[in-house]
């Protein structure tokens, strides 16, 4: 790859998060929570919230930039953007779209945000109960195949079959998330530890997924502020420079009726080489990883496809000891992530990746964090990823 002008040209400088709630438990409307998160992020950065002139979100977020800008008193809007696709595939993508707009000069201070109040608007990912179904659903719904959990369970089952992966590999991901959440007071599962026995004894949702293989459902809002590397140096916190971003999807991954040619995949195979090439680092240099968990099995395939181990190494590599912040070889989901902190569609993974660079996480690594990575949305289309660094290295 030729030298990227994007690399290190922008940084994440502000983090804002409302309190995180169980699904339906938020006392405030979604729009208000989104405004709160953006205001908190501006305060954290040390900028006037009215200076924000770019907005980016994902997953068909309902809180559109024009109305946010009107409520915030934004002086002008130079960029407003939605990353296509459902689920959490666009978490890193929204941040990188914001950063690309800053780098290109469409705006100077951009916010990437996500708000979700499911009590107000209904549960995310629910199916229809219509008697007759047409289109692609005519080939799935009559068989009782209609939930994301089923679709992803079958992709993961095939991966487990091809590489002789044991259930314990997925258990390790859940245990790491809960281990970290016990040290993170923001986490919805703070004070609710998970033991290996709890995991084994938990009910099946759809085999091979136990209850604890599935993300939570939550309410709240989160926001991160991106600006130029030059401006970032004068703000309140040490910048987390955006060294690389990738977004997209592999060959025909969205083919309907389960006909994607490469089936047992998290969809990161073509993103990973582009991401590392832009960052100028390899997986061995990544100090800490936040990997989006809709389901643990997706994390498993994403960790493999992003080069942290081979499929054949999964059974040995995937252990709580590997993923702990305090001494693990690959500290993973160090806030508790979607499983145990909050399912803010993975934007909370990006705030945690930034905290690790700043040195302010409740599960701060006991060594310097120079390279902090995020992968967003395994098994959906499109997906996205980010590499953050303590130095811009331009």
């Amino acid at each position: 790859m030729t030298h990227s002008t994007f690399r290190g040209s922008t940084a994440i400088v502000g983090l804002g998060e409302t309190r995180y709630y169980k699904r339906g438990a938020a006392p405030d409307p979604e729009f208000k929570m989104t405004l709160d998160a953006i205001r908190l992020a501006a305060d954290d950065a040390g900028i006037d919230v009215r200076e924000i002139d770019g907005f980016a979100s994902f997953s068909n977020d309902r809180n559109d930039p024009a109305h946010l800008a009107a409520a915030l008193g934004t002086k002008h809007v130079g960029f407003s953007n939605m990353f296509w696709g459902g689920g959490g595939g666009g978490g890193s993508g929204a941040v990188s779209n914001a950063a690309a707009a800053v780098a290109a000069g469409f705006c100077e201070i951009a916010v990437a945000y996500r708000g979700l109040a499911q009590g107000q608007f209904g549960r995310f990912g629910q199916g229809s109960t219509a008697r007759q179904v047409a289109g692609a659903a005519a080939f799935t719904a009559p068989y009782g195949l209609m939930s994301p959990a089923q679709t992803f369970a079958m992709r993961v089952r095939r991966f487990m079959h091809e590489h002789r992966v044991e259930q314990d590999a997925m258990k390790a991901i859940a245990l790491a998330s809960y281990y970290h959440a016990q040290r993170n007071p923001r986490a919805v599962m703070y004070g609710k530890p998970l033991s290996a026995e709890d995991y084994d004894n938990s009910r099946w949702i759809v085999e091979p997924f136990h209850l604890f293989d599935c993300c939570q459902e939550n309410d709240g809002a989160a926001a991160v502020i991106v600006t130029t590397a030059e401006r970032a140096r004068d703000l309140k916190h040490a910048p987390a420079y955006i060294l690389a971003a990738a977004q997209g999807t592999d060959y025909r991954q969205a083919a309907t009726v389960h006909n994607a040619p490469d089936y047992a995949t998290s969809n990161f195979k073509t993103l990973a080489p582009r991401l590392y090439a832009m960052a100028g680092v390899g997986p061995e240099e990544v100090d800490v990883l936040q990997s989006y968990e809709n389901f643990t099995g997706g994390v498993m395939m994403s960790v493999v496809e992003n080069g942290f181990c081979t499929p054949e190494q999964v059974n040995g590599f995937f252990a709580l000891e590997t993923f702990r912040f305090d001494g693990g070889k690959l500290p993973l989901n160090t806030s508790g992530g979607n499983l145990a902190e909050c399912y803010m569609h993975g934007l909370e993974l990006i705030t945690e990746a930034v905290r690790q660079v700043r040195g302010t996480s409740p599960c701060q690594l006991p060594r310097d964090v120079n390279i902090s990575m995020v992968t967003s949305g395994p098994m959906v289309q499109p997906v996205s990823s980010l590499i953050l660094g303590r130095e811009s290295n331009r």
Binding site: G127, S128, T129, A130, R131, Q132, V133, A134, G135, A136, A137, A138, F139, T140, A141, P142, Y143, G144, L145, M146, S147, A149, Q150, A153, M154, R155, R157, R158, H161, R203, W204, I205, V206, E207, P208, R252, T256, V257, H258, N259, Y263, A264
Partner: protein, 137 residues
Amino acid sequence: MSDQPAIQKPLPEPDDASRPFWDGAAAGRLMLMRCNSCRTWRLPSRMHCDRCLSTDVGWEQASGRGTVRTFGIMHQRYHPGFANDLPYNVSIVELDEGPRLPTNLVGVSNADIKVGMKVVVDWERHADVTLPKFRPA
């Protein structure tokens, strides 16, 4: 029918793109699209062949034989129409011709389903539509 759930299982509503498939099913024939140029089979219907991009296409009868590529065992009550079936299997059969078909396996217990099993189509007839399900070959 007092044990019938108030909300019943969804059934396919054939459209222009899928009608030959469902008409074939009603007649006990598994019909797939096939490229007339390079002879590659495809499902679901689409205008052009992924392999050669030809739009010259017809419908042909497939063997009805395939292999279980993957499956899941559903325990969660998600759609009320399937509440009485829990736990039930959802499976992907890779047909001998290549395309994959979501289905349920019948005539086999959940515990005995294996990836790689050879299966054959088994028609489940409803009033207006027939569903291809699969049983061990």
